[in-house]
């Protein structure tokens, strides 16, 4: 189907089913029950799952296929966000043109940075990309945020191109020449897709369960599926093969008379455009763009996601993005009261002891858990969650050598 072989079609269908049914799957616990805080089926978080999924899928095309570790990918995310915001400000609140401009701008930006950075490899490439991203961050934070209108005009560029610390925000004075300047009640209009507002949502009550279907989520999920499909095609194409050849031995590739540069640059630009798309989606879901999206910790985050899920696998980045965003939102919500509830069955002294042990790892300390899990994955499971799944599947197979039905979740992607 769609030019994919059987296994890849299953994988795509599996991911499609997961994303489409996410409002159900992520809300397994009834509302108001003690476990309800583990529900992740609210639109804001689900949108983040798929948006960071797009970001990580794109990063994986560069790092997973060519082995070039970019530590500055968040720069493209930021550029995409700013581009989308300017589209909203100038032309109207439809998200499609905004995403289009995100793609174009991040692509151009990636051509520039990639052309320079790709002249070096290894650690130097990482440092160069990091330097470019930090430069973009500093510029967005300071110079590009100065008053470019002149002191006596209160125009569009009053807070510069990027808005500096407070970020780029929509205002009522924005022209929006192709759309309405103000919404009905004199509010700032919200991003929409041909009239369907991104933040609109339908709720379904089944017994105690409440399922929310958000337009924004489904739009972002469709884009994610599209980018996932595209990444499968890239992985299976001769172009993807060439990128893998670069990873395994670039020198030998050069000896065969091939110039690896154009392939590398293409991979870098495609990957940057994915990041720009993710940035545009972020701005579409919540019309705001700030320089902190370009900070190097944001670049580090996408590295974490990709490694955690599994570098160079198709499913890995999506899983990694989901896992990290889930932990960020759910783990950081647990506080000591909730812990006391859970361990109320233990005798008093023991209860306090157990809680003191667990406390550093939850709430504000969730980064500690993340760091430990990440280290464990790099040390023991270099293939990430996907490799973990494969190992478990192999254990199963050894027990029952006759059954060899491919398990959707553990399908080897490479």
């Amino acid at each position: 189907m769609l030019g994919l072989d059987k296994k890849d079609t299953y994988l795509l269908l599996f991911v499609a089913a997961l994303t489409m049914l996410a409002p159900f799957l992520l809300n397994p616990f009834p509302e108001g029950s003690a476990m309800a805080q583990f529900n992740a089926g609210y639109p804001d978080l689900m949108q983040r799952f798929v948006i960071f999924g797009v970001f990580a899928i794109g990063f994986n095309i560069l790092f997973g296929l060519t082995g070039y570790l970019s530590f500055g990918h968040a720069a493209f995310l930021g550029v995409g966000s700013y581009a989308a915001m300017w589209m909203f400000k100038l032309f109207g609140m439809n998200v499609l043109p905004a995403l289009g401009l995100s793609l174009v701008m991040s692509g151009l930006f990636a051509v520039l940075i990639g052309y320079i950075s790709l002249r070096r490899s290894g650690i130097y490439f990482s440092i160069l990309t990091l330097a470019f991203a930090m430069m973009s961050y500093s510029l967005a934070y300071s110079v590009l945020a100065t008053d470019m209108d002149g002191p006596d005009r209160q125009g569009l560029l009053q807070k510069g191109l990027t808005g500096g610390e407070t970020g780029l925000q929509l205002t009522l004075e924005d022209p929006r020449i192709f759309g309405e300047q103000t919404a009905g009640a004199g509010n700032i209009p919200v991003p929409n897709l041909f009239g369907r507002e991104m933040r609109s949502a339908a709720e379904l009550n089944v017994g105690d369960w409440v399922f929310t279907f958000s337009a924004g989520y489904y739009f972002a999920a469709l884009i994610m599926l599209l980018s996932f499909y595209l990444s499968i095609r890239i992985f299976r194409s001769p172009f993807g093969m060439m990128l893998r050849a670069i990873k395994s031995n670039q020198q030998r590739l050069n000896y065969t008379g091939l110039n690896a540069k154009p392939y590398m640059l293409t991979a870098f630009v495609v990957s940057g455009m994915y990041a720009g798309l993710a940035g545009g989606l972020m701005a579409s879901m919540d019309p705001l763009a700030g320089p902190e999206r370009m900070f190097w910790t944001a670049s580090g985050e996408v590295v974490l996601m990709t490694i955690l899920g599994g570098v160079g696998t198709l499913l890995g980045p999506v899983l990694g993005a989901g896992a990290i965003k889930y932990m960020e939102n759910i783990l950081s919500k647990i506080n000591s009261d909730i812990l006391h509830q859970w361990f109320a069955f233990l005798p008093d002294g023991l209860e306090d002891f157990v809680i003191t042990l667990i406390y550093p790892f939850i709430g504000k300390g969730w980064h500690l858990t993340l760091g430990l899990i990440f280290m464990a994955v790099v040390i023991f499971l270099p293939g990430g969650l996907v490799e973990g799944g494969q190992r478990i599947a192999r254990m199963f197979k050894r027990k029952k050598p006759t059954t060899d039905t491919p398990d959707g979740k553990t399908t080897p992607a490479e």
């Binding site: 002249r119 490899s121 650690i123 990482s126 160069l128 990091l130 930090m134 430990l372 790099v378």
Partner: protein, 343 residues
Amino acid sequence: MEAIILQILNGLDKGSAYALIALGLTLIFGTLGVVNFAHGALFMIGAFCAVTLSRIISASHTIVDDTQTDFLGNPLKVEVPYVYDWFGQATGDAIIDWAVPLSILFAIPVMIGIGVLMERGLIKHFYHRPHADQILVTFGLAIVLQEIIKYYYGANPIPTPAPSAFTGSFDFGALMGFDPGQIIYPYWRIIYFIFAAIIIGGVFAFLQFTTFGMVVRAGMADRETVQLLGINIDKRFTLMFGIAAAVAGLAGVMYTPINSPNYHMGMDFLVLSFVVVVVGGMGSLPGAVLAGFLLGIVESFASMRVVLDIMPGINQIIIYLVAIIILLTRPRGLMGRKGVMED
């Protein structure tokens, strides 16, 4: 002229910190061939060694002081540090005042211990894995160390002042024959620079003039041959990791009066230190030191009013800009050796 001298002086203290961290990074890279992303965390831990020690020596107990009364006439409860009991008030005050310099003695064994532990416990297993894996695992370690510090010390910067003898400023201009008041420079920054120079000189002397250093240098040049000669080079490299950690830690200890330590200061410095190492040339110790001071001074010149008027914001990006230009024109860095990480 005064302005130029002032900017050079301003660049020296930041440059010293860059140079010290970059020196440690290069030591680790040169000996073990590992790219250590957790080095910034070591700098930060050093700074928190100073915080810890100053908390330990100002640990106090409460006594009821009959000579003082509060506004109701009741005897006042006062906190008395233990050092008062042990050494008397004057000496006790001096010890508390000198907490930061004293922390140097405390930090050296702690940092060497942490460094050796890190190398034996984690980094040892990554020698034969790709550089990307080394970067990733040390990056993870940096997050963990940072979060542990955040858990115990909180997220806010903790002011740790210098001894009161050094809190003032020094009229450098008068000394050099300019008008007084033109070049004023805080004492502690001069001390930081001198301290950095001593540490850097010490590390170089250690490598150059001791047998241990000679073996380490031989191991950096050709590890296998040294091993064939029956020398346990791994053990010495482990100690070198400890020393590199101590250098970063001491840089952190002495930096606390300049900038109150917080849990993410290591990461902030790390990114710049990597840029410094790459500019200086991967694996070149003099290169790291030179590039550290150079970039510190360049940065301080870029923050001059005159320069900012011509190119606004240049002070924010100048270091990265210099790094990009150098990497593209001199791929090996300023003083990089041939054959070290050239790809």
